[in-house]
């Protein structure tokens, strides 16, 4: 089995991936960026590292026999303390520092390149836990209607259109009309707003209830930072009185597939992984 390092940020994803690797008896190590502690209910051992000593993490991975790394969880841009930089990591700075001046995508690509240059392959969630990233298909008992599919088409166009603007990755469309677009405050805040305000704006109160659509940005580096939904998203979509959730096939994670699908089935919502 390929020895794998999970580069962990905050949230539940690192622990979920570790569970999956345990199930398949894949050996792994968890490396956690200082200041961005993962949720760690099982108290797994973690190696802590800092960006200023990234080269030492590479050495440590070599010692441990790590062959591939997978990024999991959220981090924001860490501040860099010049006094903590070791000599070996200093040689990486001509690549790393300019990337810090750029957008998120450019920074992520530079970080991936550094790991690859150090001899590690960088893989996405789908390669170690494909069940977390559904391909085309309806995952639930409930199925999208023709109206729901038309709403999904419209929402996909809206989300693709805003993708280039780096604003958000989701939208709500009902009866062809865009009720909400995801922005900085995120999915939960948007769906709460639809529940409280926007759901009364549907043209026909008895018509199609609408869909929440989520997709990665066009051209997004899919080995890091895939958008995700979970059981909470289903609860929020139900509160917003939507018919279901549409995700881009192969581009959006289910953080806990069994619980997410069970939640949708118990509420009569559909979840459809849709090919773009």
């Amino acid at each position: 089995m390929t020895k794998t390092a999970i580069i962990a940020g905050t949230g539940v994803l690192p622990g979920i991936l570790a569970d999956r690797l345990d199930e398949t008896n894949t050996p792994y190590v968890i490396a956690e960026l200082e200041g961005f502690a993962m949720e760690n209910p099982k108290g797994r051992p973690v190696e802590r590292f800092i960006v200023e000593r990234l080269a030492l993490l590479f050495d440590r991975f070599d010692d441990l026999g790590v062959e591939q790394v997978i990024f999991a969880g959220a981090v924001s841009r860490p501040a860099i303390d010049p006094e903590r930089i070791d000599p070996k990591t200093a040689t990486l700075l001509p690549v790393l520092l300019p990337a810090f001046q750029q957008g998120d995508d450019a920074l992520l690509r530079a970080v991936i390149a550094l790991f690859e240059d150090a001899g590690f392959s960088v893989v996405g969630v789908d390669s170690v836990a494909p069940e977390l990233v559904p391909g085309e298909g309806v995952l639930t008992t409930a199925q999208p209607s023709q109206d729901d599919k038309a709403d999904a088409d419209r929402a996909a166009k809206v989300v693709a259109g805003i993708g280039a603007l780096d604003v958000g990755q989701g939208a709500v469309v009902a009866q062809g009309l865009c009720l909400a677009i995801e922005t900085l405050p995120g999915t939960a805040a948007m769906l709460r707003w639809v529940a409280e305000v926007a759901k009364t704006c549907r043209a026909n109160p008895n018509g199609a209830k609408g869909v929440f659509f989520k997709a990665p940005k066009p051209g997004q580096e899919r080995r890091i930072d895939l958008p995700a939904i979970g059981p909470d998203t289903v609860v929020q979509a139900d509160a917003a009185d939507l018919a279901g959730i549409v995700i881009e096939a192969g581009g959006v994670m289910l953080l806990d597939p069994e619980a997410t699908i069970a939640e949708a089935n118990s509420r009569g919502l559909f979840i459809w992984a849709r090919t773009p």
Copy 2:
């Protein structure tokens, strides 16, 4: 003076335009689409018409010496009752009915063409009341800072980007980050959401407060249906803790310029009509 017909829909705009025409002693008549009564605090006489008898309205305008028409106020697509169609209007249906199947812009263009074909010139608000559609300049005592101008640049890009999607005409940007995008529920609902939820999402709580930006859609027919702001918008933007309001110069109406600017001055917000 050119005899003018105001084609009135709901809201305050028809009355405001009538006030302006009174001030300049321009003769006018108000024609109101049945089912979409204007706000008429001064109890002005109105001619009522129905789409099914549009040709009779043209005849009436000819009798009254009307030379130009201006559309003011909001209407939604009226249902058409075949039994009410008069023979002369029936000849217009080959143009009108297909337009009813299309988007708002296409319908508006078809309606404008019908009036023009009947011999009336169709003019925009700016031609009878230019003070309602400000050109480039800051209208208030408060001025936008460099940060505010950068936020306006970003917001203009976002609004131009969503314009092609026919979603909305406004956005809120603070410190370079898009907090909200206007959708079907409109400006007031969006700004209320920023006030209640999104304003805590600013990266730096002490940094630039951000702007509300509003512009017409790219390619929008500017003789009908310009976006508008008013004193209420200023109150809402202040509640959302924004630094000011940016509108596209020549493309957005101030429904009541004096009251809107006074409201902004009393609250320390700027209003900037910005050249794209």
